[in-house]
């Protein structure tokens, strides 16, 4: 695996993403008004205090979601490689252990009542 592919890959990324941003900066019309950057709350100016402590449940749900979302990122390359004959059994056992560890995490969260909203 020589380095050129890496550099080429990086260059294509920069050109595509950077180009899109720069092009849209010039092509798109833009207008500013005092209300444009205010928070949107169904058309009514926001009132009252938003600086307050949030419920911890939101954080727990986010963590559990993150765990299972990242898990699918690992499963995709695995399922592509699964078709090669050579890796048959070992890849399968490997993913079972991977899932087992995650299910352990889920059961722990379940027992700790992280999933139930009080």
């Amino acid at each position: 695996m020589s380095g050129e592919f890496l550099i080429l890959f990086f260059l294509v990324a920069v050109v595509l993403v950077g180009g899109a941003i720069v092009f849209s900066y010039y092509a798109a019309p833009s207008s500013t008004n005092p209300v444009k950057h205010d928070p949107y709350e169904c058309g009514i100016p926001t009132k009252g205090l938003t600086w307050l402590q949030f419920n911890v449940g939101y954080y727990l749900f986010a963590i559990i979601f993150l765990v299972f979302d990242v898990e699918t990122v690992f499963v995709f390359p695995w399922s592509v490689m699964m078709r090669e004959k050579s890796m048959g059994m070992t890849a399968f056992v490997e993913i079972i252990i991977f899932f087992f560890v995650l299910v352990l995490g889920l059961m722990y969260a379940w027992k700790k009542k992280a999933l139930i909203w009080e």
Partner: protein, 181 residues
């Protein structure tokens, strides 16, 4: 310099006065192919804001549903927040208590943004024109691009209004801002 709009033949548009007017005014814009591409993209994917105040909202829902499908014209999905909407279809009566809210929604939409005034209430106050609590036409609050008359207008009328808006977008030029915007 006839403006080439592939989907509909130029002659099919009966009311072409906006185009004629635009050309007589010496619209000396350089209509590059880049503009053509941008306008093709913009006009064929206009996402409306879910904004329906009264009866025209039901006809707008019927236009969005299975029979008179909006999505054929690129109006794929109703965005709930103005941050992701391109057009605000004012479907229904606007009253003075709602006027600042509508103005705020319009201001919070990113450019390029358009307004379709749907129904007699949004165009000119409609059947409630001599009431004590009515805004007689939405163009008193926000600039309107297309007026769709009717009370409520039929879904086909709204579709024709959307096609007129698409024609209007196809005339814009992103780079030469010499026109009186």
């Amino acid at each position: 310099m006839g403006v080439k709009i592939k989907s509909m033949k130029y002659e099919d548009f009966e009311d072409n006065e906006t185009l004629e007017l635009f050309k007589q005014s010496g619209g000396n814009i350089l209509f590059t192919t880049l503009d053509g591409i941008i306008n093709w993209g913009r006009s064929n994917s206009i996402w409306p804001l879910t904004f329906a105040t009264s009866c025209c909202g039901i006809e707008m829902m019927a236009t969005g549903a299975a029979r008179h499908d909006f999505a054929r014209f690129g109006i794929e999905v109703y965005r709930a927040s103005p941050r992701q909407a391109d057009v605000i279809v004012v479907a229904g009566t606007i009253v003075p208590k709602m006027a600042p809210v509508l103005k705020r929604l319009y201001d919070q939409m990113p450019d390029p943004k358009y307004v379709i005034a749907m129904g007699a209430c949004a165009v000119s106050g409609g059947p409630f024109v001599n009431s004590y609590h009515i805004v007689k036409g939405v163009d008193k609050i926000i600039p309107v691009d297309v007026y769709v008359p009717g009370c409520p207008p039929r879904p086909e009328a709204l579709l024709y209004g959307v096609m007129q808006l698409q024609r209007k977008i196809k005339l814009e030029s992103a780079f030469n801002k010499k026109k009186d915007k």
